[in-house]
Each structure stands twice: as C-alpha cells, then as structure tokens.
Symmetry: D2
Subunit: 332 residues, 4 copies
C-alpha cells in the first residue's frame, strides 16, 4: 500500500503517521520527492481502512498494491477452483451450460424445457421462482411453488438446479436447490451474502450493473470469509451510456477475473443483451474467450413468457447454439 | 403506451395483437407508416409488461408515454408532499438539514455532535449503526448499540434521528428511529422495500449508484404501494467514468424529481464527493437549485472517524456551511 | 416519428402543429389518450430537427421510428457491403486481419513487422504516423516520414496500408495510403469527415469512447453523404466506470451494427483492453461473434515501442493468435 | 511517479529498469514488499510515457503523483488567472455571464438578443455560426455570414463575442471574435488545439462528453504549451447512463478544477440539461458553488430557433435568471 502525503506536511506529522503504521505491525519505506512524500507500507494491509486514512489532513491519496481480497485472490491460491454441482463440474477446464426459462411458470413448461436443454447438452437447469422486478406491479414469480416445480424437473431429468434468492429468510425453501443465485441488484446486499456464506450451497454471484471486478470479488469475499468457498462469478452486462442493447456485455471480465481470482466465471448473454438474436453470437464469443460456462434463457414458448421474455431463445435455437458452442470448445 | 411493429408484420398478426390489447381493456389507435406501423394504446397500461411485449416477433419496440409509477407520480398528486418527522417538516417549502457522523462510535461523540449540529440549525441527526462496507474486513458499525446511542442523543437534544437499515429482520431495533434510511446499494432490494412499506416510518431512499430517476421512483413505489407514503428521496451521486471525485453528484436530479414526483428530495454532498472540502460548495449549490434538504456528515474529530471519514466536516465547518445555506435559502 | 404532446395542450395548438407538419409534406395520425396525445408522422422525416421540435411548449417528447441515417442503413440496402482494399476484401463473408505496430518507428521495424504479419496471414498492415496523444509532451508520431516508411513496407510486402489522419490538410500525404483511419477522438470531427467523404479512399471509422452505435452511423453518414461509400466501422472499446481494463470492449456492437447497417465491422482488441495478454482471447471472441475483421497491434520489440506499447503483442504471439482465429473462422 | 513491479521480477531486471530511470535524470527509491516492489521516481517525470512503461513485462502498474500538466497546474501557479476579454474580466473573483442564441440566424435576431442580454447584465454575447451537428442533414449554421452578424451585434452593443470554431482553416474568419470556443466533440482535436495555441485569442474549452478533469487540463495544456495562456474551461455536462436529462451536469467540476488549476471555470447549464426549465436552477447552483461564470442560451423566439432550441430561454426568463444570480453572487 502506498500513502502519498500532501505538500506542506511537516516532518513531525509524517513521523507521527509512520509511528501509527508501525504500531499496526507494518514496515514503512519513505521516499521524499520534489512535491510529495510517498510512504510504502509493507506487511498485511488487508485490514487498513483506506477511506479512513484519506481523511487525514496530511494525506493526498492512498493506493493499494495488493488487493484486499484474500480467499478469492489467485495470488494466494494459484490453481483454478473446480466446483462439483451434483456431478456437473465447473472451472479448471470444465465447462458448464446453465439453461432454462427466465421464470418457472407451470410443471409442463419447466419439465419440457428441462428435457430439451438436457438433450442439447446443458449441465444445469435454471429457472426463476423469486423474481426481482423494477416495478412492484410486474410479475414477481411463483415463489415457493416455483422452487417445487424446479425440484420436480430436477427429479425428472437429473439436472442440478439454479435459482435466485432475494431474502435470506427464504433459505429453508432452497434446501433442494443446487446453486443459489444472487442477482445483480443484490450483489452488494452484504447481509444476504453473509447468510449465504454460512451455508454449503454453491453460490452463483452476478456482477452488479455498476460494479467493478474488484467489488465483485469483495462480494465473493463476503461469502468466502464466512466459510463457503463454492462461489461462481457471473458477468451479465454493465450499465453504460449505450441504450441500444439492454446492458453492455463486458467479455474482458472473463480475462480479468481469471487473472485476479481462481473462481470459475460464467457469462449470461441473455440478460446482458436483452435480445434473443444476440444470444447466439455472444454465447459463442464468451466460449471463445475462455469462460467456464454460459447461462442462457430458453423458453418453450417465448411469446408467452411471463417476464424478460424478450431475451429467451427457443429449444430449437438452443440446440443450434449448443452445436456451435461445442465446436468452439473443441478448437480452443 | 406506443407499440411499434416490425416491417413485414402481416395485417393478420397485427389484428391478433390488437385484439389481445383490447381484451385487456385497452383501446388501440393504428397509424400505418411507410416502414413501420405504430399502435397507440389508451387506457390503464400500468400493468402491461413491456419486456414481455418486446419479446413478440412482430414488435420492434415499446415506449411508455405515462410512467408506470402511480403513488409517486406528480401527475396524479400535483401538490408537494410535506412529511412531518417528529416536528421537523420537509417538503413543500420546508427545508431539512440532516447532519451527524458517518458512524456512531461512542456516547460522547454522538451526543457532542448532536448538540453542535442542533445549535447550528440542523433539524435531524444522522449516524450509522449498521454500515454497508465493500469489504467484509472493514468496520461494520456498532449495530444495535449504535442505535441505542442515537436514541440517547435524541433524548438529549430533541433531534429526530435518521439511520440506515440493511436487513428487514432488524426492524424491531428501529422502533425509536424517526427516519429509516435505505442506502444506495439496497435501492433495489425489493424485499426490504416491501417490508418498509408495511411500516409507518418515514423512509429516506437513496438513489443507487447506477439507477435512473425513474428506477428510483419505482423503488419508492414499492414502499408506497404497500401503504407507506412517507418517502424522502435522496440524490447522493452516481457512478460515472470520472474518478477524481468518489461519485458524480447529479444536481439536475433535484429538478427532474421535482417535476416527476411530489415527494421531497434531499441531497447528500458528503457521499457524492467523498471530500470534506467540496461539501460546502456542493451543499450551497443543492440549496440554490431548490432541494428540500441536505444531508451532511459532521464529525467532532474527523481524523479518528472509523469509516468514510474522508468526507466528514467538523462542527466548526458545519456552522459556516449552515450560515451560507441560510443566506441562500433567504434569497431564493 | 412520434410526437407526444403535453397534458393541457389545446385542440387549437395541436391543430397548428399538425398543419405545420403537413406543410412539410408529412401525414399525421392523431391518437388521443387519457393523459397525452400522440401524433404519428408518416413520410420522410429524415430532415425534421427533433431538438427543435422538443423545444415547443406543447411537446413532451419526440421519438424517431426510422433512423435518420440513409446511406448506411441496412433497411435501404439489405446486402452486406464488400470493400476491396488493394485486393484484400472485407465484408460479406470476407475477413480482414489488420496488423502492425502502434507507431511506425524505423524502416527495419515496420518492414520486419510487415513481413511477419503477412506470413502469419494478415491482410493489411497498420502503423501510426500521426498519433493523437492526450499529453502534448508525449511522442506525436513520425508524421510524413512515418507514412513514407509505411509505403516502403507496402512495396516490400504487397500489404495494403492503414494509417490515421488527424487533419484534413494532411490529405496529400495520404495518396499511397489504402485505408485512412479516423480515430475515436475524431469520430465527431465533422469537418474532417466531410473532407474524407470527398475522397475515394476507404475510411476506417472508429467508434468514439462515449458514442452510441447510432452516432457512429451518423458519422459514417457524414462521409457517405459526400459520395464516399467505402466505410469500415471499428469497435475499439467504450469508456465506462470500470478502470481495470483501459476501456470496455463492447462486442455486442458487432451484432447491433450488423443489424443496423450493411457496412463491415472490425474489432480492435488492442486499444480496447490496453493489455497484450487480453488481445488473444478478445480477438477470438470477436471472430466467434461474427466480426468482419480484427485489428491488432504487433510489435517486434514491444518493450521499446514508443507509444501504447502496453497493448502490443509480438510477432510470435501474433502467429498463435492467427492460428486460433483461422480455426474459429472455419467452424463458424 | 510510482512504478510497481510484478511478483517474480528478478533483482537484475529491477536494476536494469532503475538504471534506465537514472539515465533520464530521475532518482529512484526502492521499497521491497512481501508481494511487490515499488519504485518511487523523483525528479521531472512529466515526459515519462507511462503507457510505454506499463508495457514492460516486469511492470504491474504506474501511478503519477504529480500531474503531467504544467502550465495549467495550480501547484506551479497558485494565483487565479484573470482574463480580460474586451474589458469583461473573468476569474479571480470576476464573474462572467455569456449569453445568446444557440445559432445566429438573422441580424434582427442576434442584435435584439444582444441588446436584451446586455440590459440584463450579460458580459459577453454568444452565438453559433459553425455548428457541429450529429446528423449531416441538420442545419450546420450560417458560417462566415453568422460571424459577420455577430460582429455587427458587437458593434451595436459593445459586448465581446464568443463563437465556436470547428476547423483551424477558418481562423482568418475569427479575427474580430473575442473568445473562440472549442466544443465538447473537439476537446481532443489536438491539431485544432495546437493551432489555437499559436493565436493570442482567448479560448473557451468545453469538457468532452466522456473526458475527465485531467484530460480537460491536458487539452488546455496543448493550447498553453504553444504560448497561449488565455484559456477558460467550461463544464457542460457529461454522458452517463441517465437519459432523462440530455447530459449530467457535473458541478463538482467547479471545485475540482479550481483545486487543480488556476484557469477560470464557467458552467453551461443549457447544453448540459437540454431543458429550458432546468437552466435557471442549474445556473443558480453553478453560481452558488463558485463558478467564474455561466453560459446560457437565450433566444428571442425559442419556438423558431433553428437548432438546440429546446434548451433556450427567452429574454424575459433570462432577466429573471440574472436577478437570482446577482443575489446569490452577493451572498457568497
């Protein structure tokens, strides 16, 4: 960690600060420049509160050299994490395909979609039971009933299931769920993350619409620091000035996260683009750049989907996407 | 609501869609252009799911004319809402000054700050007990103890208190709290919003870092549609490409929200800028453009603040800010 | 085009506006809703100034249905444009690989790089002679001498050359240049675009750091409306809140632009990411999602590059990238 | 300047780099941490190319401590610059009000507006003769004729005139213009900036839609390093995800630029918001937070304005704005 002092800081003030750092077990290297003095801090700076430090009158700015995430950090854990989700592996060369409808609607719908995506090669089934919607007047999901229908489809097809949680109080309902998803809007719902950290479930953590890679990793750290190391990260598009697509899919997240962390990274082209016809090319791109999996909305009757329908592909289209994905997987 | 059909839509397809709209009690005006057909929908379109509509093969795009928020909408409630918080009014010409430390630390600290800000003219006391922090390793607040200390300061000074909630399960601890704050990261924690809608507490709802005015109002609608109409909106800076300031304070939010809604709007220059020396000019600007209140971090010993300290002003600086604010209030 | 009138507009005011539209040769469909009236304009609205329209007291907002670009619009020109650049075709299934150093430095450097990238399969040689730099104190390129060196490398290898222009007055120097590049910072330098529209050179137009797809197409329209239809579009990353990568590569631009226009679209992963190690995965992703070409910085001694060096790959690394690109091209 | 080396850098590699720095006249302080080594560079680092440095295999990242702008830097020039524009001073406590129509249309229009804004207290007259428009089909300004009309209005009223340049070749037409404006889209048209640096005209440099404060200052540096120190900076809104306002006015730019530079800073609320009814509150806010001036579009018949009309206020509204501005100026 680097602490840059302001012009005009007295030697006395500087030495006081150095002493304060040393009292916390850090070593301090001093480098005196023409206009500013730089303190290099050596030791475990994870728990130094940089916001607090920047408050001091004499401090110009603080810059971390080592990131404050530990459990998620590849530096301290160089090998890829491989997570086994009911037999479907992800990470370390294992590719996951998570497919299913935006919302669970009926037993026929979810079972039919499950059968079709399994036949095409999907390794997990997704489906929304609790739905975060911008408007209180929009459909909020079938809730507990939706999870029950997912569990039926799991029994029917053997596919592990992935579904979103919005409230830690609902955890008992998720007992038979294999992967619990945390949506983009809850990426920094720290209370929820802590509760999920106390479970042994695999957590699929989506990047927030305006969150950096490092913030995503700090949120993973909330889960991991409570003891749950089964975290899958998900890039699902960020909010930018461009409004032609719903969000801007940031595929360099795959490279950056693979560099920064050992956790698996999946890409969700459905939510990112908001357009069924962009899902195939973006899924192919995600596969080509090394994602550990993709997450695709598939609906057996897109025109009747109760929410986010615009981004669903049909099972036939999904078959086609899977063929392309497999070919690309083979050549990379 | 406008629904624009794609080129190539057949008359039969168009008529099917029109029938579907009419079945939902809407009237439809058809306007046939050279390249596209536009359907104008008349009636209560609040509950039409535009995402779902855009999924249809024949639909190019959908545009709402009337916003889907009702309770918060100035169109249906032209007069300013005035909220009375333990005697301190806000809205409709009543200006609120909410001041206090980022985090509650000790009884001495919070009581001393409360006395000082009251003397300077603050109308409410703020202080964080539950703190949302990006890192699990940073200070998370005194929690229940912090609320207790706030309540003591309230008894001591008579100032109503404002503090943040992060988990609806903590609601019982907020019994003596006058205004419950929802932080930017929880602006779309819909489960929390719904629970707060069932209380009668005044809610201070902060705009998310990447949320539009309309999304902020939809979140207010979550609270209001459950029966709680006491909502104060808060602009606290948005995330942009500029990193010199912590966030970018968007003061046009004051104009835009006053146009769109009847709810009071306060501005928090402390979190937006992240710099104590920018708080005064930004507080003056917020007052000048017609905000219904400001929210300022004040700390009696900024250098020792446990979090977000960088943005705290001292009680002496706050006195000075208050003088300026009062003068500006008089002339506008 | 849709014009939505404000609540409270009188019938007289409305009829005046309708007359004004009709005087401009447009037909108007009126749809009266509960809160607002919508006018649907039919005819050639390309030259209607929407900014001006929105100024009127009675107008709430205006929304275009058909985009105001004509020459670049796929609606009016459904087939892909194929551009022949000195024998190297791009568009309509023809894939271009544009490679070379950020800056031309010496004859040895540019000729050696040209030979290497040609051997690996590149179809055009790029190299900067005029360099737009944020700081006036940074290296600004070899200018005319740089172009001369590029022309030598072209003679040597037969590769058509691509280089950036910053000033229309320099056009005479570009006589032997095959493709003239307009950089992101000049995407809306309309004076430059108009001058380039008067030439017959192929123009490679880069998307601005904060420009939408539609603005990019309007800039292409500036060139095309002057008579030059040889425009290649280039996605090179946009500016977002994420600072870990230099910019955020927006690969959905490939899908969106292919939908909106018939012009070829290339992707520049070098500038977008600013990191040599991200170039390969991002080039593979760009190829997989259907780009018409990629543009890659290659330097025979990256450590000595005079500018933007951080993003250069070596000729050996480029060989490897080309192998991957070819395999992906074969399977898609 | 700080250079952080990657893990795994050998002592030999490190020493080579240190030698390279020393050869450029810099002193180097070495601080060896647990995971990384930090080099602190002392001396004149203005001309060190950080992009190039980051290219080196052994370099993790580089961070400047002192900004690479010199002429514009308050550190080296602590007093406010005061610019005298034909008798109208700006900076160092002198407040400028620049008002006039978006586009010059007729002699009657510009003269009438000039008289009205002068009577209300404006200190300079603005009007567009060359207009940058997103679409080639929109009105591009009266060009040379527009400047002639401005000069007439100047003679009539004595107000110095401000108008935009888009092409350095047009400079001869600007002989009688007092302040030459560089628009947001040309903020990084470095060729234009260099030419303007060779004149003695006052330059009003607008912040680009996606440019940081520091980039704005580097662009000012392009002008100043050529010998022209008469630069006024202008905040006019940045592009963000929020689309309700045309752009997001970033008033903290006033604070930040006053901290970083000695140059005067004006605010243009007209272009930032794109709405006439937001101009007054935002002009008041800009004044309250210490801007050195404001720039407001005023049109004597807004409904007929040829461009950007939506954001124009009438002379009567401008009178009212000026009264508020004066009162606020008195109290701050």
């Amino acid at each position: 960690m680097i602490t840059v002092l302001k012009q005009g800081t007295t030697v006395e003030q500087r030495d006081q600060l150095i002493k304060w750092f040393e009292d916390q077990g850090l070593r301090v290297h001093v480098s005196v420049g023409e206009y500013q003095t730089v303190l290099g801090l050596i030791g475990d700076t994870t728990k130094v509160d940089t916001d607090m430090l920047e408050l001091l009158d004499i401090v110009d700015f603080v810059k971390r050299i080592t990131e404050p995430f530990k459990n998620a950090n590849r530096k301290f854990h160089p090998e890829d994490t491989v997570i086994d989700v009911g037999g479907a592996k992800i990470g370390g060369g294992n590719f996951a395909v998570i497919a299913g409808p935006c919302s669970v609607e009926t037993e026929e719908q979810i079972t039919e979609v499950a059968r079709r995506v399994k036949a095409a090669g999907a390794t997990m089934l997704r489906g929304g039971a609790f739905k975060p919607r911008t408007s209180p007047y929009d459909f909020q999901g079938l809730k507990a009933d939706g999870i029950e229908l997912l569990v039926k489809a799991k029994k029917e097809t053997g596919l592990p299931i992935v579904t979103e949680i919005m409230n830690a109080n609902h955890l008992p309902l998720f007992e038979d769920v294999d992967v619990i998803q945390v949506g983009a809007r809850n990426m920094q719902n720290f209370e929820l993350l802590k509760e999920l950290g106390k479970t042994k479930k695999t957590i699929l953590l989506k990047r927030g619409l305006a969150n950096t890679f490092k913030e995503l990793l700090m949120s993973a750290e909330y889960i991991m620091s409570e003891g749950n190391e089964n975290v899958i990260l998900c890039e699902r598009g960020i909010r930018t000035f461009e409004t032609y697509t719903r969000n801007t899919l940031d595929l360099s997240a795959v490279c950056a996260l693979h560099e920064l962390t050992h956790l698996p990274v999946v890409v969700d082209p459905s939510h990112a683009t908001g357009r069924a016809d962009y899902v195939k090319p973006m899924a192919m791109a995600a596969t080509a750049c090394g994602a550990d999996g993709i997450m695709i909305e598939v609906h057996n009757n897109p025109a009747k989907a109760l929410c986010d329908g615009a981004q669903s592909v049909t099972p036939d289209q999904f078959d086609d996407i899977m063929k392309r994905i497999k070919t690309i997987r083979e050549v990379i």
